[in-house]
Amino acid sequence: MPRQTTIPPAVKMILYLFLVAVTLIWLVPIFIAVITSMRTNADIMSHGFLAMPKTVDLKSYIEAWQRGGLHKYLPNSFIITMPSLVLTLLLSSLGAYALARFKFKGRTFFYFLFVGGTMLPFQILLLPVFKLSDALGIYDTYLSLIAIHTAFQLGFCTFVLRNYMMTVPIQVMESARIDGCTELGIWGKIMLPLTLPAFAAIATLEFTWIFNDYIWPLVLIRTAEKMPVTTGLATLQGQYVQDWTVIISGALLATVPTLIVFIFLQRYFIAGLTLGSSK
């Protein structure tokens, strides 16, 4: 902790007030969203937003959930996110293990291939992946999204896991090898348990990223029944033009899963962000 002896109390007080002010401004959009969702559109349109709401009304949540389609979009998001998450973690931990623990031809090349890929602009992939999905007959299916999410997130996960695995002392693995453990056994029984903190961190982060992705379903999913919540919300926006209470209620419902992750796993989320940038 930096020493605080030199900061006069008056300055401290001003800093504190500044902080409170900025924080409140930052939260305004979220407060407004919550308040809006509990009012009726007619009330807002006739009395203005700043008028005191006369009644509390949760009908717009029901509207967004039922007619707005959130009851299908939200489960779809999980159907897409969970397999992508499991696959990308599993595959990247295999690759990361090889990159962290073996010296071989192409080691640096493959590492940089993965790291460089994390920063690719999606636009360079959109058309070919669209064509590829079509050619494979998986266009407009969940599988097309699971495939691209798994592949794209491999880069970041391999990068983080590889760097984390480098910190595991090599002696642990050497002794297992002497005891006759197979390489797959060392990966599964020794490396994976030791890498759990990094797994927790990137799993939390990746869940949010994949769940919140908008551009891939926009390009790869055409049927509304199969849309995840992000493109679903865009559809809902077109369906309820200017009916802000329903649009905002839908947006808040869409946020619940990532919000739960954030509330309970904030520590891992933050750890993931810092892991991803420390190198």
Binding site: L94, Q123, L126, L127, V129, A251, L273
Partner: protein, 294 residues
Amino acid sequence: MLDAKTRYKLIPYAFLGIPVTIYLIWIIGPMLYSFYLSFTKWDGLTSPEFIGAKNYRMLFQDEVFYISLSNNLEWIILFMTVPIVLGLTLAMVLNKDIPGAKTFKASFFLPMVLSLVVCGLVWSWLYSPHSGLINEVLRRIGLGKLATGWLSNPKVVMESVIAVAIWRQVGYVMVLYLAGLQSVDQNLLDASEVDGANAVQRFFNVIMPQLAPVTVIVIVISIIDSLRAFDLVSVMTRGGPYNQSSVLANFMYIEAFNNYRMGYGAAIAVIIFIISLMFIMFYLTRIAREETNA
């Protein structure tokens, strides 16, 4: 049968086999294929027809391309400077043991877990010309003259969209600086204090240089993210009015998937890629240097 030594040599390739194959098919291959597509005329249904550099020639004469390019530049500048100044200030303040630090931090983290689509929708409502919060507040406090269609007035539309991106980004930059501050050498700080450096001098001469690696990362990430910015524009304005909020990513999407000019879209994608590549290479060289030092 392979001997033990050869088998051992093959192990890393066995581990890398599946991930690398998937990566080549879905990422690297498509990336290269976009280059080819950018030299073709393609409507998405029939096969692509090779037309040489025609797409690029058209692109360099397309007014929307230049509007998008300059909007991306504005996005980069604002998206970099504002979050760095605000994020670093917050990190400096919250790094101290002040009451409620956790709550303050959480408030700035919160926008990060909202999808850009959700952010775009919520802010579209705040910006709404008739009953949106911003105009209502302006009218209420006697600044009604400033009330405008934040997303329909060509003069402010781009800044209105970028503001949302900034709102979501500050927490991230703060996280990175908070982590960076953990490794600032306390002895050096104490020594400079003994030597009579005041708070401002200590910040600029002792803390900032030690945070330089974080700043570099933040700058690279900000540029890359600005270049691929798409979701907010797509949800809030679709590039309008009159293309005044068009950015390259959105321009590419509209040309390729709404106008079915896929070869042209690929050319725009290649331009985005080439600009990004400069920064990707810069980042990779840095990592390479750290690898050899380690």
